[in-house]
Amino acid sequence: MSAPETTVEAATDEAVRRRENSAVLRIGEDDGERLEAESSASDTSMIMNMGPQHPSTHGVLRLMLEMEGETVMRSKPVIGYLHTGMEKTAETLTYLQGPTNVTRMDYAAPLFSELAFSMATEALLGLELPPRATWIRMLMCELNRISSHLLFQATNGMDIGAVSMMLYGWREREEALRLLETITGLRMNHNYIRPGGVAADLPDGWRDEVLTLIDALPARLKEFDTLLTGQPIYRERLQGVGVINTAECLALGVTGPILRSTGYAWDLRRDMPYLAYDEVDFDVVVGTYGDCFDRYAIRLNEIRESIRILAQILDQMPSGDYRVQDKKVTPPPRARIDESMEALIHHFKIFTEGFKVPAGEVYAAVESPRGELGCYMVSDGSAVPYRMHIRGPSFVNLQTLPHLMRGGMVADAVAIISSVDPIMGEVDR
């Protein structure tokens, strides 16, 4: 067992570990007050709680900050306030009910959790999707990526103090959500992507509505640029704040815009393509300095890349089935139920008993707006998953907070939380 110490220690990792030891405050959730009471008068540091109910914590995130005056020294994110045991619940829901559960995890980008869950189930079933289903999924995911990044623009602006940005970001996001509502029936928690395809075909006129959105957005993004990107106060608040490098990101398991902000081009859509991403043309946006400003700029430009992808999807959308024609997985069409007793029984059985999935285990991952969102699924051959685990990008990315915050001001901490863009529903699950 002595081998690992001697062979694998690269210099960069040493640096990571040193920082790891000094940036993270490793005390129990209830120990803050006790330590505070025991500390001597000469000890100038204090432990301060931020959250869980704080406007800038994006939900219920609590931070224990060790302060030296106004400077943040070590810190620890305390989570679990939104934990509702969704992975336990998943073990009681059939594969067809599963997406309703996972869609509530990352509520700003629900379609990605549905997609990962469905891809895992389909891998166990050995299903091959019809091309139209694949392209509809891609269309929906890119629309969702836009709405999620617009939400980031809104909240990031608000956290920094550019409150008007919140109105603009929210306005644009609402346009995207309205389109999602037209297609799926719901603004959020869509339950649209299901094992075997999608819930319904695209409605009449969807093409015009998507076109309207992607025609209007570039001009609005230009407004964002005017309002924020070139604005000296805004840049002052973000540039050089919360810096992280590639080695640290990889060691911490960080994915998504935070990893890309360090200049490291890693995007599952390009590097390990799923759906039909190898058939569309887009750029992976990377930053240079790994600071808050880079993370802001990456998300802004990823909206532009998504618009590019959407335009190609509009051109290439194939016709055909929107779900597999496998009677075991696919319920009969609604119209058939009125005229056929067998169809009614079939419908009833699929929605009450579900369908059996062959035993096995699988990991399927997609590039969500926050990074790699994976679904690890174990089946025992019954109609409910034996184990369903979601690898949430926010959960892992949250570990960067102590490293990003160390040595900064409390006001920087607010900007940093915002730039990590955690969704607490997915962190706590």
């Binding site: 679990g80 590097d271 959960f395």
Partner: protein, 148 residues
């Protein structure tokens, strides 16, 4: 589905875990994506284990990713119920800290050498490990003692 690349699976024992992960890291597996566990207590029949692997109640599942030749690898480690301990991967991949805390919280698997072995999702005074198969859904009617 054709677009999911089959992830290669390695079955390693607890003693070999650190060594194997360290070796994989040298081979270009730059990041530890996921650490999770499965409780096989109620599984009707496990047929996917190679014959030389002795099935145990718990299984630790570690997913690593390589970027140079894009691909993941999955390590499955059998963990017995009467001694649920595993060495921590923190020294190799500090990013496993929160993931290991979650596994410890949900399954009661102890990670030896973990820098912060506290509960992460459940309250600190919680009894039991919710994702174990013998922990029923809704077993505890009043969840937080302070509210009683």
């Amino acid at each position: 589905m054709s677009d999911i690349v089959e992830t290669p699976v390695l079955h390693v024992s607890r003693d070999q875990l650190i060594e194997t992960v360290a070796g994989l890291r040298d081979d270009g597996y730059v990041s530890a994506l996921d650490v999770t566990a499965v409780d096989y207590l109620e599984h009707p029949g496990r047929s996917d284990l190679p014959p030389e692997v002795e099935p145990e109640r718990f299984e630790l599942v570690v997913t690593l990713i390589s970027h140079t030749t894009p691909g993941r690898i999955r390590l499955r480690v059998q963990v017995p119920a009467d001694d649920p301990t595993v060495p921590t991967l923190f020294d190799l991949f500090p990013g496993t800290e929160a993931l290991e805390r979650e596994v410890a919280d949900m399954y009661g698997i102890v990670f030896e050498g973990h820098p912060d072995p506290t509960r992460i999702l459940m309250p600190p005074d919680w009894e039991g490990h919710p994702l174990r198969k013998d922990f029923a859904v809704g077993r505890i009617p009043v969840q937080f003692k302070a509210t009683r």
